[in-house]
């Protein structure tokens, strides 16, 4: 136990320093900017069952296994749901660190609500709305309203609603009214918005979007149950800008997965392969097979290190896991190597603007180069160059959609560094 604790503290200290292990007993794979992506890893999983990598995708199908730790959060959500069915208004906000199981919990909640014949709508915008009008249109489309929403052409930052049509009502207001009327005329429903921060961005005109969204929620919260979900830091930012917490009726916090949860999650996915897991030892020593106390202790240590490395985020943990496993001498087993090391580029040494870019990417959940350019008032090419610099450092990845987002592998370490620098609050 003491040995484990010492090793754990040692691993944590090394993580804090962001250093590689000098003179390590065995060679460790170094996770750097050049580390292959998960897709590349899947393609190169030689000697492993073809479906093995697929079990460790970043967005696995919703499963019950991750919900064990979220029992309290799930109960709170169900209680809010019952209250809403009894006539109370409900705007539930579910927050938690990335990978804390919010999506799984909401998927399970959705199944539960559907089983009770309650209509559930998920609001998943294809693109980030760039105006209040676009937001209303996006919501109306998601709800499949039969009543057409009038075009909302009100300009950004309208002059105290002075731009009005002949009836004295602005285009935006009438669009809002139509949306609310449409929602109220439709059957009662639960509306789930995952990653609600993706509906908004920090730009001129955002206040109008915030007001429109809050207005819809306030006017329909008895007829519809609104479930908003966001990473904790993103929600804190959104709340600081828009004050959405004031209209929330329930705030539900999901905690990060513990080391034991992560172990159960990873081993459950591994078990689906039907292969044994052997542990690598010294260079000249035979691999450890299950069933011995040494095996259990070493596996425990591996998951402690994996947990520290991934900060409990399964997406990152899966990535590191796939970097750790390889074919074993025994065809019916896989060999687990040491937990990889993370080579963390220096964030403290970055220019202030680059650090603030990381903050914005983190709280927005991803931004295009043009959005970053608008936010920092830079030419798009300059913003792209800055983002590429961050990408070369391995801090940022480029999504297929073209948006830049914080690397899931570096996320906990970047957010910790930004908090230390007092840039995240």
């Amino acid at each position: 136990m003491m040995l484990l604790l010492r090793k754990r503290l040692d691993a944590l200290w090394r993580q804090l320093r962001g250093e590689q292990r000098a003179g390590a007993r065995r060679a460790r794979r170094l996770v750097t900017a050049n580390t292959p992506s998960q897709a590349q890893i899947h393609a190169g999983l030689e000697g492993l069952p073809p479906d093995y990598g697929r079990a460790f995708t970043a967005a696995p199908p919703p499963r019950e296994e991750a919900l064990e730790t979220q029992a309290a959060a799930r109960s709170a959500l169900v209680a809010a749901f019952r209250g809403w069915r009894e006539g109370r208004s409900a705007v539930s906000v579910v927050t938690g660190p990335p990978g804390s199981g919010r999506s799984s919990m909401l998927a399970a909640f959705e199944r539960q609500a559907c089983a009770l014949d309650v209509r559930v709508t998920r609001l998943c915008p294809q693109a980030r709305p760039d105006s209040a009008a676009a937001l209303i249109e996006c919501m109306a489309t998601s709800f499949g309203l039969s009543r057409p929403v009038p075009p909302a052409n009100a300009p950004l930052a309208s002059k105290d609603d002075a731009i009005v049509d002949g009836s004295g009502v602005s285009g935006l207001d009438s669009a809002l009214d139509a949306l609310v009327d449409g929602l109220l005329a439709a059957p009662k429903r639960v509306v789930i918005i995952e990653d609600v921060q993706r509906l908004f961005s920090r730009r001129m005109g955002m206040r109008e979007s915030h007001s429109a969204f809050a207005d819809v929620l306030l006017r329909t919260r008895e007829h519809c149950m609104w479930v908003l979900s966001a990473p904790t830091l993103a929600w804190a930012r959104l709340d600081a800008l828009a004050g959405f917490s004031e209209i929330a009726t329930d705030k539900i916090e999901c905690s990060a997965l513990s080391s034991a949860d992560l172990r159960a999650l990873v081993l459950a996915r591994h078990a689906a392969s039907g292969l044994e897991l052997h542990l690598e030892r010294g260079e000249d020593e035979a691999a450890l097979a299950p069933g011995t106390p040494e095996y259990d202790a070493q596996l425990e240590l591996y998951f402690l290190e994996l947990h520290a490395l991934s900060a409990g985020n399964p997406a990152a943990a899966f990535h590191f896991w796939l970097l750790s496993v390889g074919p074993a001498a025994d065809a019916k087993a896989l060999l687990l190597h040491n937990c990889p090391e993370l080579s963390l580029p220096s964030i403290d040494g970055l220019a202030p603007q680059l650090r603030l870019m990381l903050v914005e990417l983190l709280v927005h959940g991803g931004l295009s180069a043009n959005a970053v350019a608008a936010l920092f008032q830079l030419p798009p090419s300059a913003a792209r160059v800055d983002l590429e610099r961050l990408r070369v450092n391995g801090l940022v990845t480029r999504e297929p959609s073209g948006e830049y987002a914080l690397s899931v592998l570096m996320h906990p370490h970047v957010s910790a560094a930004l908090k230390r620098a007092h840039l995240l609050y």
Binding site: R207, R237, D348, P352, Q377, H422, Y425
Partner: protein
């Protein structure tokens, strides 16, 4: 001519020991200053406390070093010590009045702490970040990237404006005046939103916009946007960023821009 005790005091061995002691103190202080600077860059929240400890440690080190040198190495007889101290004090007091005044003011400032290293202060007509607090003077880095040295006695005898008082965040006022008729409510909203949109603004504190009627011979309205910056070093960057957003959004012909 000299008695044995005096010869013993001013021996080569003592001189070397004193020089070695001073060198060790200087090296240790340089190492401490570098360590403090390294730690302050990484722990922004504690930046001011860490940097503020440098002058205190320096004072303690030099006072302690002097005491060790006098009593531990030279060890003069008490009578000689009193006589030397009295005559040296008189001579130095007369010759180095200003230096001693600055030194004493430096000691007072270390304990009084009107500001600390890293603070943004205005003193003697200069505004900038305090980058060093020495025993005789403070050094400021202005926004023009010049280093201004202000004697401690001058600092102690003047009003000192401290913008952030040891906090990483600082209230920044971005003031501008709009000439002619203007929709005040609209400009006020745009100004508040421009501040909220700026990535340099600290959102943990409220953003306030003040409006003043400054009409004289023509209609003039002055707006002051007050918001906190995420880091005092970005004060001017934030102010410029907020103002640019306002002018781009309002598209007015002649806003007059001044820093408060």
């Amino acid at each position: 001519m000299f008695d044995d005790k005096f010869v013993e005091i001013v021996s080569l061995a003592n001189a070397l020991a004193l020089a070695a002691l001073m060198a060790i103190i200087a090296v240790l202080l340089a190492v401490y200053r570098r360590l403090a600077s390294f730690a302050a860059d990484r722990l922004a929240r504690w930046r001011f406390q860490i940097l503020g400890s440098v002058p205190i440690v320096r004072l303690i080190a030099w006072v302690g070093g002097t005491a060790i040198g006098v009593f531990g190495i030279l060890d003069p007889p008490r009578d000689s010590l009193i006589a030397i101290a009295a005559s040296a004090g008189l001579a130095l007091g007369l010759a180095l009045q200003d230096v001693i005044k600055n030194l004493l003011a430096g000691v007072v400032m270390i304990f009084q702490r009107p500001f600390t290293v890293g603070d943004m202060v205005s003193v003697g007509g200069h505004y900038g970040e305090v980058i060093a607090m020495d025993l005789n003077a403070i050094r400021l880095r202005t926004f023009e990237d010049s280093v201004v040295t202000v004697p401690n006695s001058l600092v102690l005898n003047q009003a000192v404006l401290n913008s952030n008082s040891g906090s990483v965040n600082e209230l920044v006022a971005t003031a501008f005046t709009v000439l002619g008729e203007v929709d005040v409510l609209h400009v006020r909203r745009v100004a508040a939103e421009a501040a909220a949109c700026s990535p340099y603004v600290f959102l943990g504190s409220p953003i306030i916009v003040f409006v003043e009627d400054r009409s004289d011979r023509q209609r003039m309205t002055r707006f002051v946007v007050k918001a906190y910056v995420v880091d005092v070093r970005l004060e001017r960057v934030m102010s410029a960023d907020v103002f640019t957003r306002i002018t781009r959004s309002l598209d007015l012909p002649d806003p007059c821009f001044t820093y408060d």
